[in-house]
């Protein structure tokens, strides 16, 4: 066959051949279908899971954060005098940390001091987590104000007796809904409520409990208020300092300089710990790569298995078709024409098998993501990979039977009964 219409003619021929032998064609396409379905289904599943994980980090304020936590330096035995005399993480660390050379990459600093206190209002009297915070904390942790206002700079500097309530705390201590401007007592200190945060909701899957419920139960005050009037701590010790570094390339430099600074501030005692959120996330997500490799592998195995079946079916059917090949050669088909005819059948089978594989793979991951309640995410890359693999294997395993058919002697093929 020559000319521009040759491919169309071959396709037509291949189509007749495949539809005339539906059972055989189905078996041949099955391997391709399973391979494509496995790769596509697996990839879209792990992709959906990854999207959901990225989503939760976005909701908690992003991955561009470096946390500093105080730790115990006592490894074993009794602490040294030096360790005992240490002050731990404190406000100075946060302020000086903002002054290291690479700190120009830092665009926000948040401090936090946690306390457990008895909290009382006209309507409630409970033990609650009270969080002393500094500037930048609200925006950095994904909170937003629902009623009233956030702390002003002077509130934070002077340690004003003011508080913001979480949505749940607001409804417990002030069930009437009249919250802002009311007074609650934290420990022995009466403070004025100036705002209420929006309710935070996050569920990994639909129907699951709100993972952020605990955050709605909290009460926030300026950290200077905790240090000054609640715990009487002149050093202003902290439970956490968070630096936001939007340019993640600067993170390593900053984290090294910060570590050196805090170590020297703490008389060379390693009584703190750095936590690079982005690094942690990447590590967690890289565990998903294992699943991708497994799905890829099972897809490849399905394709190899299907490919072997194809080779066998093709070789078996070649026996039936020897005479037909002989006739075609006798009336002028070249070996390469026979080869192309067989490869066109393989192409058609691969295309049909892949199409069926898309449907099955998407149905598979749709069902699973529905069952565990996360949104389905289909990346174009998964389609590309699945199709590329199907084409490679579909062709690879078609080569041998096609080659064998093309090398037949027309004489012997015609004599074949």
């Amino acid at each position: 066959m020559k000319g521009s219409g040759a491919f169309r003619e071959r396709l037509q021929e291949a189509w007749i051949e495949l539809t005339e032998n539906p059972g055989r064609s189905f078996l041949q396409a099955l391997g391709v279908m399973l391979g494509v379905a496995s790769v596509l289904g697996g990839f879209s599943l792990s992709d959906s899971q990854r999207r959901q994980a990225e989503h939760i980090f976005a909701r908690t304020g992003g991955i561009d954060k470096l946390n500093v936590f105080p730790t115990d330096t006592i490894a074993d035995g009794t602490p040294s005098a030096l360790a005992n005399a240490n002050l731990g993480l404190r406000l100075d660390d946060a302020i000086e940390g903002g002054g290291v050379p690479s700190a120009k990459a830092v665009n926000a600093v948040a401090v936090q001091r946690r306390a457990r206190a008895r909290v009382r209002s006209e309507y409630g009297d409970q033990e609650r987590d009270v969080i002393g915070i500094g500037a930048d904390y609200v925006a950095m942790n994904g909170y937003s104000i629902d009623q009233g206002r956030v702390f002003s700079t002077s509130d934070l500097e002077n340690g004003s007796p003011v508080a913001i309530l979480g949505s749940q705390a607001a409804s417990v201590f002030f069930p009437t809904g009249d919250v802002v401007g009311q007074t609650i007592t934290i420990g022995a200190v009466p403070v004025r409520v100036i705002g209420v945060f929006h309710e935070l909701v996050f569920r990994f899957r639909e129907g699951q409990n709100n993972m952020f419920a605990w955050r709605n139960r909290q009460i926030w005050v300026p950290s200077s208020l905790v240090a000054g009037r609640m715990s009487g701590d002149q050093y202003h010790r902290l439970d956490r300092i968070t630096f936001r570094v939007p340019d993640l390339h600067q993170m390593a430099d900053f984290s090294r300089e910060l570590s050196a600074l805090v170590t020297s501030n703490h008389r060379l005692q390693r009584d703190f710990r750095l936590d690079d959120v982005g690094k942690r996330l990447r590590r967690q997500l890289s565990q998903g790569d294992i699943y991708n490799i497994i799905f890829m592998l099972s897809g490849v195995l399905a394709l190899i298995g299907g490919g072997m079946v194809n080779v066998n079916i093709q070789l078996a059917s070649l026996k039936e078709r020897v005479r037909e090949v002989g006739v075609k050669m006798a009336i002028g088909a070249t070996g390469s024409e026979i080869f192309k005819a067989f490869m066109t059948e393989a192409l058609l089978l691969t295309v049909m098998g892949s199409a069926a594989g898309y449907v099955v793979g998407i149905a598979f991951s749709w069902t699973i993501t529905r069952a565990i309640g996360i949104p389905l995410s289909l990346a174009p890359m998964s389609f590309l990979l699945a199709t590329a693999m199907a084409v490679v294997f579909g062709f690879l395993f078609a080569l041998y039977p096609a080659f064998k058919a093309s090398r037949q002697s027309p004489m012997e093929a015609l004599r074949y009964e």
Binding site: K2, K328, G332, T334, P410
Partner: protein, 234 residues
């Protein structure tokens, strides 16, 4: 005898087996000199084992000789191989087999189109020529039937139409009536005679003297050699 030679062989030898471990080689053709001129109707006869089929395969470019020369329609073909031979078969030779050898899954018209498909004849022309050939062999109404629904005689007519598709220089028929009842056999032979009168060159292989008698010239093979050839005897 001024018509140009369609077939011209000199000292054609074909040996099977040989140097391998199967013992002595079998010499199927032992030096065939044969000339067939344009427009002749030649019957090739001989007992089984005389080398008819082997000669037929070489003349039809399905096989190549071990030694000797063969010119088909003026072209030396004994040294050709693979794709070149396929092209010669496609353009110069029209095969008609005892078992028809139609493709069972393709319609009649597509069967006839097939040689033209390999030759790259445009779609429309292909279809027109196939339909007119089908009318020429007398069964225009069967264009879209499948071979399985036709009688033996009709199938052989389709095979003849297919053989004529690329206007070949030579029609090679191998026992074309061997599988037919006597009535359809006579009809098919009549068709061959008609093609001969139209100027086609026909080489017909048979073991039936009655059929051979229809040809204007009978070449008899025996033991791989030309035993009787009136063209030489004359």
């Amino acid at each position: 005898m001024s018509a140009p030679a369609i077939i011209e062989t000199r000292g054609l030898i074909k040996t099977f087996g040989g140097s391998g471990n199967e013992g002595s080689a079998v010499q199927a053709l032992r030096g065939i000199d044969l000339t067939v001129r344009r427009g002749e109707f030649v019957a090739l006869i001989g007992p089984s084992g005389s080398g008819k089929s082997t000669l037929m395969a070489i003349l039809g470019c399905l096989d190549t000789p071990t030694a000797g020369s063969y010119a088909l329609d003026g072209r030396q073909v004994e040294k050709l191989a693979g794709a070149e031979l396929a092209a010669i078969r496609n353009e110069k030779v029209g095969f008609i087999f005892q078992q028809y050898n139609l493709l069972p899954k393709a319609t009649i018209v597509r069967n006839i189109e097939l040689p033209m498909l390999y030759a790259g004849v445009p779609r429309r022309e292909r279809r027109e020529r196939a339909l007119s050939l089908l009318a020429q062999v007398g069964i225009p109404e069967k264009a879209h039937a499948l071979p399985g629904t036709l009688s033996g005689g009709q199938r052989q007519r389709v095979a003849i139409a297919r053989a004529l598709a690329n206007r070949p220089a030579l029609l090679l028929a191998d026992e074309p009536t061997g599988a037919l009842d006597s009535k359809s056999g006579r009809e098919v032979l009549a068709l061959f005679q008609e093609l001969h009168t139209q100027g086609h060159t026909v080489l017909l292989v048979t073991h039936d003297p009655a059929i051979a008698a229809l040809a204007e010239r009978r070449v008899e093979l025996r033991d791989g050699l030309v035993h009787v050839d009136p063209a030489i005897a004359a």
